[in-house]
Amino acid sequence: MTPMSDVMVLLLTFFMLTSTFVKQEPIKVNTPGSVTEIKVPESNVIGVLVGNDGKVFMNMDKTTDVSAALSDVTGQFGISLTPQQQKKFLNDPNWGVPMNDLQSYLSLETVKMPEAIKKYGIPLDSVKGKTGDAAMSEFQIWIKAAKNANADAKIAIKADENTPYKTIKKIMSELQDMNENRYYLITQYKKVED
């Protein structure tokens, strides 16, 4: 029995040291493979999650930044959230509900939220009733708020390999419009084939 428990302890230590916890994601994303060996930075990341049906979700690693961005955006849209709703928002690993549905979504029971968020996604179309420079999409408003909350944060796009290029193009050009020209594309490691 002793050698067995020795092996167990070894395995356990290995898993504890080398692995990172999986973040719950509202949609399943299969990233494409690439040969690059650059790692994703661990902190100061604005994650943009793109599903193969074009739904966009966002996440940030620090809760303080998320709450700063949230109060910024809700202020712009004139939405006031109760402290309980704010807490629910901060507990979610990703956010991606259009502002019109945000309050009703945050009033749901906590167990129903992961199921409900799947049918939403941050809209990429410009907000209705605004023209010119003010015609930003909710996605751009979120990115701007996130950048204001943490100026050092880098944008990392994690998209499914079957996402149509149309969606990616839209996201890229929206980021370009706000002069965010440097970002990361998250991929899986793949060996170079000869």
């Binding site: 167990m8 999986v22 990616i168 990361y184 998250i186 793949k190």
Partner: protein, 222 residues
Amino acid sequence: MEMMTTNGKGGKSKQKKMNVRVDFTPMVDMMMLLITFFMLCTSLAKPQTMELSMPSNDKNLQDQDKSVTKESYTITIYCAADNQVYYVAGLVKPEDPTILKKTTWGSKGIRSVLYNHVTDDGTYPVQDVMKAKAELDKEKADVTKKMPDSIYNVRLNQIKAGILSDKKITTMTVIIKASDNATYKNLVDALDEMQICSIGKYVIDKLNQDDFTLLKKNNVKL
């Protein structure tokens, strides 16, 4: 000691030895549980990333700021629907549909196109750069030299810019264009080829009218 002397068969002393052994089974059970937990709830591989710098959308950019590359040093890659890939070596001339050539993804397709591209001057820019990179990698792998990453990156950037150890060459410029129905994987694959072929100058651009005309003449499914 008294017991030992009174009991000749030593039954008591055996029991004493048994007490020293600790039962490990509950501990192993717990270990198993913990391992299963860690295996299921964590991920081992850290995802990789590509760093991407896009040109600014600013329309006020002066024309003189845009660098002009020589015709034969340019390749345009088109990612179309259904994982199809086409390329044009040189300038895109919509009036001549034969310049558009079809190829495949992977080492036998687009990579060999890039690798075997000959310029007007009879040089192979991609081959020269890749050979220089292979030499640099060999030097990096040499343990006796102990090359730090910072120096490696500086030299790699020099090679990508065309400054080789014995000569200075003009490097290739690749323009990647994707249609709406191409997938994100196609784009990443194209960017990957840039990484493998050590092409420093590449850009992701939108399809313009000339491209549409050319692709339509060749009946490419967009």
